[in-house]
């Protein structure tokens, strides 16, 4: 059913359609509206049987999900930013135990300095946790990816994060097609756990594993994600049969035919990038876009195939590998090893810094001209940076960095660009 609704609300409705049996909730912006809406759906009796548990921390949220999933219940939670980091130990544990928990990550920056706005630092910090990570471009895709995520997670008995940009998607009101219950039921069978705590057939789960078996267990987690590379496109195709729309998959190419330059990105910024590319195409530029939906597993072969005919690519990412450069860019460069393609990294939008078409036009033209440095920090205020560096050079007790920058920028720190 078509609705004009908030992204969080739409996701909550999609989750409810997936019939989760245990939902754990802990508030953190910008995820909070999702669990608030689910709390109301459960309390009203609309979703039954389902236990909605208000926990005391994100660490507890993931731990409750672990217990519930190990006991055979379809389990869901949502978090963001500091919350994801606070539960990190349990995040690794859930995947290590092979529990198919689905979690929404409403992507948000990580402090310090504290910042509630969107970038991808949080889920990318859990890159190697063994969770799959699917990135939604739109609220419609966020809805659809959650439904596919439960199916994939339970097939492989591995957990999945569905990542959607905090505020930009979670708080945006737009048209979303909320599926019918019958469609979701046809797509998503009831949860049949591979392992379950059951007094009728006692098993030990989470036993001590020594060097004789640890590597095999870890390898199998990798093998599951390699299987997911096969299954994700198949599940997207099955999804289309029932729901009638393209959603999900590993990657999505846009105007890449004959493109000399391809811009690679994840999440909602793909919208702005496509608009920019449309305008440049109209001017005759040979430029296209490659959206990454499946960040983990990372589809190395498919990325290579999508880029093989271009001359250069720019990875525009909302994350920073401090001391190195790009996080996603590293993976993309790995994918194109040996092709001789020229690659650029653009770090953009950290902490919610707007990524404007004007800035993208400039960036993409410089990429086409091959005048970009290998790593670019889009719209970085060099004056503020240089002023702080000079301050540190001259004064030992130069004070807290963030407060100095804010002071230099003045009270209208909300003026961007």
């Amino acid at each position: 059913m078509l609705k004009q609704t908030e992204g969080s609300k739409a996701v909550a409705e999609a989750i409810a359609l997936c019939r989760p049996e245990v939902i754990c909730a802990y508030p953190i912006s910008p995820q909070t509206h999702i669990v608030e809406a689910l709390g109301e759906i459960v309390k009203s009796g609309e979703l039954t049987p389902c236990e909605f548990i208000n926990v005391e921390s994100e660490f507890a949220a993931m731990s409750v999900a672990i217990g519930a999933s190990a006991a055979g219940a379809r389990s869901y939670t949502a978090t963001a930013s500091q919350g994801l980091l606070f539960m990190a130990e349990a995040v690794y544990n859930a995947s290590g135990l092979g529990l198919p928990i689905v979690m929404t990550v409403a992507n948000r920056a990580i402090g310090a300095p504290i910042n509630i706005w969107n970038d991808h630092s949080d889920s990318l910090s859990q890159r190697d946790s063994g969770w799959m990570q699917l990135f939604a471009e739109t609220n419609q895709e966020a809805v659809d990816l959650h439904i596919q995520a439960f199916r994939l997670a339970e097939e492989l008995s591995m957990p999945i994060m569905v990542c959607m940009d905090g505020f930009i998607l979670t708080h945006a009101f737009e048209r979303v097609d909320i599926p019918e219950q019958a469609q979701v039921d046809a797509y998503l069978p009831p949860f049949e756990p591979r392992q379950v705590l059951d007094p009728a057939a006692p098993v030990s789960i989470g036993a001590m594993v020594g060097p004789e078996a640890f590597m095999e267990v870890r390898y199998l987690a990798h093998a599951k994600q390699m299987q997911a590379i096969e299954r994700i496109p198949q599940l997207a195709a099955e999804f289309k049969e029932i729901f009638g729309r393209d959603s999900g998959g590993l990657l999505r190419s846009y105007c890449t035919e004959g493109a000399d330059t391809i811009i690679i990105a994840m999440g909602s910024v793909l919208g702005t990038i496509k608009d920019t590319v449309d305008e440049m195409r109209a001017e005759g530029h040979k430029i296209g876009v490659l959206g990454i939906i499946s960040y983990r597993p990372f589809p190395l072969e498919q990325v290579k195939a999508a880029l093989i005919n271009c001359r250069r690519f720019v990875v525009l990412e909302k994350s920073l590998a401090v001391g190195m450069g790009g996080i996603v860019a590293t993976d993309v460069r790995m994918a194109v090893t040996g092709t001789g393609l020229k690659g650029y990294t653009a770090i953009a939008g950290l902490g919610g810094r707007p990524i404007t078409k004007a800035s993208l036009h400039k960036l993409f033209r410089e990429a086409e001209a091959e005048t970009l440095p290998p790593v670019t920090f889009l719209d970085l205020d060099w004056i503020a940076v240089d002023k702080q560096l000079a301050r540190e050079k001259h004064t030992r007790r130069s004070g807290p960095v963030a407060e100095n920058i804010l002071h230099d920028k003045g009270i209208v720190s909300a003026k961007f660009g």
Binding site: E21, V22, S57, S63, G67, G72, I205, G206
Partner: protein, 333 residues
Amino acid sequence: MGFQPVKFYQTGTYTVGNRLLSDAERSVQAGESRSNSINSGHRACQGCGEALGARYAIDAAMAGSNNQLIAVNATGCLEVFSTPYPESSWQVPWIHSLFGNAPAVATGVAAAMKVKGKTNVRIVAQGGDGSTTDIGFGCLSGMFERNDDVLYICYDNEAYMNTGVQRSSATPPAARTATTMPVGSEPGNAFGQGKNLPEIAMAHGIPYVATATVADLRDLEYKVRRAMNIRGARYIHLSVPCPLGWGTASNDTIRIARLAKECGMFPVFEAEYGEVISVSKIRHPVPVEDYLKPQKRFAHLFGKTPHPETVARIQAIADRNIRKYRLLEEGEN
């Protein structure tokens, strides 16, 4: 107070003659119906109080749940010595997740059972004092506050034994651990304010809180069975001497546990909804010295440079417990 003085102990012993009890109250040493939930062959140290306590507690929980039990375990000695896979000792469905999250995992299991309509399946979560009083404290408090249908059992051996005897917030003052060495002007663990978990549990107003020691396994069994007859969050805090960490002979575990209670350092009681309802009285009052002296972790208090003032401070703690919980028979206080 619901306490009834027991008058039929044999003189000079702690043994209740079975023949003096009604059939229902007589203890059974062995039986076919015992579930042996933690099988023999595990790798606990000789004389391990935790292995003994867990065996009796979980078997009692099995009996109290018609063998419909799921156990959740925090990281620690019990988890490590019982599950060097594939040699798991557990005959019940059992899950270990992390050091600090056993209460929350148990909440999840309980929620799953509820949603699946299997409310006959009962959940026990367990951990040592490190996971209970320190790293898992937040999750435990959350579980209590929500009154989730979980029995949590803390096996308190008063330090991080699995990692090599480091101080926890349950370590008593003056005790030697690997991180509170008996050196300097105030050797051993500092005198803090302590962290009385049973009282903190009671402050949550949960339906049932009890303490017990492995010196009185029938009392432990009774308390576990009682807890299993109650729904909601329940907490049992069990004193389990550790021969390795306490520096005691492995055949002294029961004696030391008994002395902990008899000197007043470890009050044994039950509470419902935050109110103490019964207390196990001290039968043979002893000074704390009798409890401390056999333990190498307190040896520095009685060595070449004795610390009688420190022993007196510990005695003051015991005396306060005795007054507070009325641990002596009326007239003896």
